[in-house]
Amino acid sequence: MTSLSLIDVRKSYGATPVLDGVTLEMGDCEFIAFLGPSGSGKSTLLRIIAGLEMADSGEVWLEGKRIDALAPGGRGVALVFQQYALYPHMTVRENMAFGLRNAKVPNTEIAARITQAAQTLEIDQLLDRKPGQLSGGQRQRVAIGRAIVKEPKLFLLDEPLSNLDAALRNRTRVELAQLRQRVRAAVIMVTHDQAEAMTLADRIVVMNDRKIQQVGAPMEIYDRPANRFVARFVGSPAMTILPAQGHAASGGYAQVQLKNGTLIQTRVSTADLPDDGEIEIGLRPEHVTVTAPGSGTIDGEAVIVERLGDRTLVYARLDDGSEIVAVDRGDSSVRMGVRVGLQIDGACAHLFDADGTCHHAERDQL
């Protein structure tokens, strides 16, 4: 069953378009992350779903019911605000009860739901405090609790972890993942932290430039990015993209030539590539390994060496000035300024045509 579906949602503020025809289908109890750079319209889309903002056109459906003309309180969604937006003059208990009272839920039922949620979130000690007496992490839990007690069909979370420090963020991330198993509802979480999106979401919606760029499972987005933007935005460090020239095909797979003449054999089928002309080759860092100078596909000079413990990232500059990121073993002896060889695994390379569409290597059928 579909949970939420958005049909061609458009929104502009004055003359500035913010969302340009967004269409999306969510499965039952699915966890979706909206991922995108600042200003890409993630919050706007969330607010349109919640009813805090009116779309200029388009439809919003939730579990078979069209909701875009309903008041925010009548849509069956709960929103956790980035700044929590707890009512400062109410106790935690009253904060959670407020929405239920308005919905005329019987008092015994309200009390039961609050007790249940407070236990789940471990805030039962805090029920009689006011938000001003809570720490940031505790407020966060109360905000989530306020959403849970409403038993919505859809949870909306706007950057729920961005106000927490690193340690608390990791813990809350795990808790969110656990919580998810317990509440039977669909979840949309806005984030611009890809690690968050990758670990929590069933599917990621990558947004940029007023549009959805790609919708897919985390590894699908990583392995088969739809276009240049997604390829660069997802993955850290970002995918290296080098200008190249299409060359003679071999066995139906494209062979490309870097600026300095190096040939790289890819496993991208030539069938859907443009016949000739400029293309770009995209290489994830893990597909470029450091070797002795002269023994790899191409040589370069190590500019930055980042030791991460289990592996070492080497940012190398090629002779034509372009930069490429490569990985080496954790105990790598590469130092800044030395020449290194780079072994490029062409079979994993992506190719981008002139309009930015990404073409992927064909996978072996197992």
Binding site: G73, L79, F81, Q83, A85, P88, K130
Partner: protein, 289 residues
């Protein structure tokens, strides 16, 4: 620790000095004079508590006190409510709201003389604006400035009109402080307009409301100019507030000691009221911070 205290003192010292000079000193001097029979020319006879004894036996003093409290009761709640409603109505970014804000505030910058003149023009029986309106509707004009039952309400109305500006601005500032996402949260919580107002807006304006009520109470217990100019306290003292009474005793009957005794009583009353309101308003709040 000691050093910090000293440097702290250095910073507040000028203010404390000024405060003592302008407030404490006159208060103590006044207290001293109130134990004398004194006139404006400096002659003084020690009479002990005699001024106070006379004061508390003086029916005119009680009448003036009664008038003063009636005025405060008529003005403070009404003014608070009206300015709150005005602020709610005008708390938007539109051009017309800005114009109305300016309009309602403009009365506050007028001097009491002009305010009184305006309201004389409105209230005067026979030729006043209201009188003409009533006559046009075939109703007998009301003698606002001569009927002892109407002078106090007339004074209250004048004062409310004059005093709209500041409390309205305070409420507007208070409303601006309420974060927008509070309202968004409330709308997601399915709160209707009434619930939102009573459960979100009003509690958020708690401090502002207390401030407005305290400021207004202190100010309205000292009504003077309007009464002096509009009705001269008449007819037969029915609209004479306590400050006008003090003024008449001091500068009409030249009984400075007696006047100051009345002033000291008023001061203590205002102080007591302020403390009571402060206590009442902070009592429920201990938990909040």
């Amino acid at each position: 620790m000691m050093e910090r205290r000293v440097s702290g003192m250095v910073f507040v010292l000028p203010f404390i000095g000024l405060y003592c000079f302008l407030l404490i000193l006159p208060f103590v001097m006044g207290l001293w004079i109130s134990f004398h029979r004194a006139d404006l020319f400096g002659s003084r006879h020690w009479v002990g508590l005699d001024n106070y004894v006379r004061l508390f036996a003086d029916p005119v003093f009680y009448q003036a006190m009664g008038t003063t409290f009636t005025l405060a009761v008529l003005i403070v709640p009404a003014l608070t409510l009206i300015t709150l409603l005005l602020a709610l109505a005008l708390n938007r970014a539109s051009r017309s709201a800005a114009i109305f804000r300016g309009l309602f505030f403009s009365s506050s910058v007028l001097s009491v003389t002009i305010v009184t003149l305006i309201w004389r023009f409105v209230l005067t029986p026979d030729s006043g604006l209201i009188a003409k309106l009533l006559t046009a509707m075939g109703i007998e004009p009301l003698p606002f400035l001569s009927d002892p039952n109407l002078t106090v309400p007339a004074l209250a109305i004048t004062t409310i009109w004059w005093g709209l500006g500041l409390p309205m601005m305070l409420f507007l500032a208070g409303l601006q402080q309420i974060p927008q996402d509070m309202y968004e949260a409330a709308s997601l919580d399915g709160a209707n307009r009434w619930t939102t107002f009573f459960r979100i807006t009003l509690p958020s304006l708690r401090r502002t409301t207390i401030l407005v009520i305290m400021l207004q109470t202190a100010a309205q217990l000292q009504i003077f100019g309007q009464a002096q100019l509009l009705t001269q306290g008449g007819p037969s003292g029915s609209s004479r507030p306590i400050v006008l009474y003090i003024y008449e005793v001091a500068f009409g009957r030249w009984e400075l000691g007696y006047a100051i005794a009345a002033a000291e009583v008023l001061l203590l009353l205002i102080l007591a009221l302020m403390l009571a309101q402060y206590w009442l308003s902070t009592r429920g709040e201990e938990v909040q911070r």
